[in-house]
Symmetry: C2
Subunit: 118 residues, 2 copies
C-alpha cells in the first residue's frame, strides 16, 4: 500500500521528462495513441513485445502523470479505452521530431554497417 511514493521528483526538467516518458514502452505507447483512442488489447498487439504486466504498469504511470486518460466501460466483456490527454498530446510534436531524427540515424548506421560500400 501507498504505492504512490515513487519517482523522486527531480529538479532538472530534462530528468523529470525522461522519468515520465522514458522506460521501455512508454514512448511507443504514446506514439501509438497519437491517432486516437485505443483499447487495452489493441495496445498489446501494436506495442510489439510488451507483456500485459508491463503494459498495465506503463499505462498506470502514464495515467498518474496525466498523460493519458483511462475510460472503463462496465459491461461484459470488459472494455477499457486509453486516450491521450491534452498534456499528453503536447508531447506529440516532440515524439514526431525525435522519430524523424531516429529514422535518419538508422539509415546512416545501416549504410555504415554495409561492407564494400564507400
Amino acid at each position: 500500500m501507498d504505492k504512490k511514493i515513487k519517482r523522486p521528483l527531480p529538479k532538472c526538467g530534462i530528468d523529470y521528462a525522461f522519468q515520465r516518458i522514458g522506460g521501455k514502452y512508454k514512448g511507443r505507447i504514446l506514439w501509438r495513441l497519437r491517432a486516437g483512442t485505443l483499447r487495452y488489447g489493441e495496445l498489446r498487439k501494436t506495442v510489439t513485445g510488451v507483456t500485459s504486466k508491463m503494459l498495465t504498469q506503463a499505462l498506470r504511470e502514464l495515467e498518474d502523470d496525466g498523460l493519458i486518460s483511462r475510460k472503463v466501460y462496465v459491461e461484459v466483456p470488459p472494455k477499457v479505452e486509453y486516450t491521450l490527454t491534452e498534456t499528453g498530446k503536447e508531447l506529440l510534436p516532440f515524439l514526431s521530431l525525435l522519430r524523424d531524427w531516429a529514422k535518419e540515424q538508422m539509415l546512416i548506421n545501416q549504410v555504415e554497417a554495409m561492407p564494400g560500400r564507400s
Copy 2:
C-alpha cells in the same frame, strides 16, 4: 571483448531514439553540453549525482552513437574534452521543447501538491 554487441537495433524510431538518449544521465549530459565543450571533471560536477563509472559509460555510448566527440589532450595532468557532434546538436531543439514541457508540468504538480491553495 566484443562489447559492441549491445542494444538490438529496434525497428521503431521512437524506440531507437530512446535507447540513444534514454538512461539516467544521457539527457542531462547532452543538455549540459549545449553551450559548448566541457571537460570530464566539469561534467562530473554539473551532472549532479553521477558517479565516474556511470559518467564514463554514458559518454562512451554517446560517443559510439555519434552524438558527442571526445578529444584527448596527451599531457600531464590529463585533459579530455567532450563536445556535441552535428548529430548531437540536432537533438537540442527537442531537448529544449521537452524541458519546457517538463517545467510546466512540474509547476502544475507543485500547485496540486499544495494544500489550501485554490
